[in-house]
Symmetry: D2
Subunit: 252 residues, 4 copies
């Protein structure tokens, strides 16, 4: 699959020049940029995660050099800054993202005022299929939202996300992102049910939080992720903890 | 200070009715709602954190019942859903947020289709001052962004955020939120320099990540947070790890 | 009442530097800026019209110098350009707007790269009441939208808007703006029913298009405009062509 | 070329149910929808005009049925309403738009609560080239923005737009839209320089306003429009009133 890192050029210095900018303006700005990226990548059936907001991560199968340039043009024409893009590919998501960030790092520092609007690394002609695992917390409304304090619920979800992300990175070179509510999405290679069972057990052992997961696979993130969400609905209906929608995947 | 929780009414069911909605559309929608809340609360010199996106947390000193209604009207007129608000006050942020979420929980479940557009709890006439501590990672660009993999940097920041959030909640009833880049904002009661030093040490011990912090105080989050950001600039310039801008605070 | 003109600083040159920018990016950008202004002014119960997009017009009763600065800060922190504001007041809307644009023109040219973020003219402490007349086309869906071509309907509405705007400016120093659909809003001094009847007759004579109107009055545009919209609903229900909601107006 | 009308389903009734909605919320909402359409159509190198906001018009060469569905899905997932689309094609823009609106009208009324998310008419496999004429007012800043009142400038531009739109529709079956500032864009069949000269003369005779125009041609609106904007820059530099960039146009 093809992974991308989207980096705001020289953002840190901009946020404090000539003096620190109003925090809510920065928050609003970052959220809008993310919304625009989600729309752009989403129109190509990809996924994008806000990650650190100044560095966002996308699964961008099928998005080529011209389209990245179009996105850069759009940002330049609308925001007070520009963005650079690093691209990498491979069967293992974390390795692909490493390649993407390494390619970008080779073009210069994120805080070099002259390193702007780079596209580093090569988009893949045949990026290969994507596996999406969509996790959520079992009965989050009953156990947390309607009962626990907002602060405790928030920390519980951060613990679950971090625990899952560390486990999936270490064991399966996979990337996990909190996507709001009680939802965590993991971008994986092709894994079997046992691998997900072990991950859920590891999170429960470490944090006491029970996750369930739907898994889907496809040529694009949307196809894979939609399958995963349907599978997760089966978990909710049946009480199952792991459901996989293993559709046949055709080569591009 | 006055804390608020903003909750999308019956959001979970909506996201999967009649079938799961496209993930990037949901991501974009959540980011836009957050952007709108940041603008609204920011215009009153408050802060708002995206927290779980379907439950957002704000420091809302001075925002009264009529203004919350105006915000609810705006959301109703623009989004495919509505929001409810819980409000609580006190000198200790976590206690104030607990009061806010408890007040909201008493009105019914977040997934009750008939519990919509609540305003629970009472806005405070004299909410009292706010202390904002603005943390970031020492030399994040040199140590992480330009060197480490995007995945590792992301996990490092999640570990630092979680470690700090747990410490500040346990020891000082304070609330901590990642706000993008390498920035973490903590909403605190009035704490001395020693308290922040101990927090930084605890995070370094637990995660190996070095934080620095600027601290500010004021009648509104913006005033306090702006002071904190100026103080943090002093850290960056001088190599100091803790700088406090202790302005005189006038009663409202 | 208090009128304002919001002008993008040096916008024309920016749109073609270093080469012409993508038209849809400009369109999207202008719409977003207008949306942000509508939110900002709307939160203070004012109205804003997109006018020429690079010059927007607002009825801004009660918005003071500090709030205009906050708006300028927000634009500067979010857009690739800045804005200036001209302010004028009086009982006659066009005269107040003339004062606002004259004050702004005195600070320099809209295309002077060094004339940025001006606030020209003085916000009024007691701006006085606002009268809003909300017009629409009688049976637009039956006569136009569902029957005529889109191009013809569009021209019919432009003719009606222009005819009404010219009449109301010449006879009553009033300002008229198309606001979407078949709606035209006129900002007026205190006029009687006969004045509106003559305006409707003039438009019908000149263009053959039948308008109806609801009229409201209040200390803020929202109060006046909401009354006007309620009055217009009476027209729709009763077949009346002119309805005025003459609420008592209290001094600020 | 392929023209589309984008219509908000049952919008009028929604704006007043259960009572009239806040005007600035509606204005902001309409602007955001237009911004989203501009982004979506713009990513396919098309153009979209806000027209009446509840009915927007696009030049949508190359956008097929699946993409219109994706756009409808995006609107449904994000807004409190849905949209329908009418599509028509041909060498003459107004005829193509007529076909698009007639196809949509045949599916039912714009105010039928059960006629939602239609796609009427057939996207064209080979829509043929687009001619874009980009007009602006000669020395608008010196003659109007920096000198005349905002209200007078606004009316002057409305007169010029209406005069041009009527002329170009009557004589060349073309569609003209104000796009902000002093810019008017006309979507035309393939016309020679003499046709544009006559149009400019007609507007000057009728309104006293001097226009200049750049003309471009291409397989997509962006390609044609960008050429037109470059040509218009030549007018600004040379004092010429009409410049055409007649690039070779290849069949799709």
């Amino acid at each position: 699959m093809q992974l991308s890192v989207f980096q705001i050029d020289n953002y840190g210095p901009w946020t404090v020049t000539p003096e620190p900018r109003r925090e809510t303006d920065l928050q609003s700005l970052q959220a809008r940029l993310y919304s625009d990226l989600a729309d752009f990548v989403g129109a190509a059936d990809g996924y994008v995660f806000y990650d650190r907001f100044d560095n966002m991560v996308g699964v961008t199968n099928g998005i080529d050099h011209d389209q990245f340039e179009l996105l850069q043009e759009r940002v330049r024409n609308r925001y007070p800054f520009t963005i650079s893009v690093g691209v990498g590919s491979g069967e293992r998501p974390a390795a692909a993202l490493d390649a993407a960030s390494a390619a970008l790092q080779e073009t210069g520092s994120a805080q070099d005022a002259h390193r702007t609007e780079m596209i580093a690394g090569e988009p893949a002609a045949s990026p290969g299929p994507v596996t999406i695992a969509h996790f959520d917390v079992v009965d989050v409304t009953g156990k947390y939202t309607d009962r626990a304090s907002t602060a405790e619920t928030s920390l519980a979800l951060q613990r679950a996300t971090l625990s899952l992300a560390e486990y999936m990175l270490d064991h399966h070179d996979s990337l996990s992102y909190f996507v709001g509510g009680d939802n965590i999405i993991t971008v994986c290679p092709d894994l079997d049910e046992q691998a997900f069972r072990a991950a859920i057990d590891a999170v429960a052992d470490q944090t006491g939080i029970d996750l369930q997961v739907g898994v889907g696979r496809g040529q694009r993130s949307h196809e894979a992720g939609y399958s995963a969400k349907e599978a997760l609905e089966h978990c909710r209906e049946t009480g199952s903890r792991i459901e996989a929608n293993r559709q046949p995947v055709h080569t591009d």
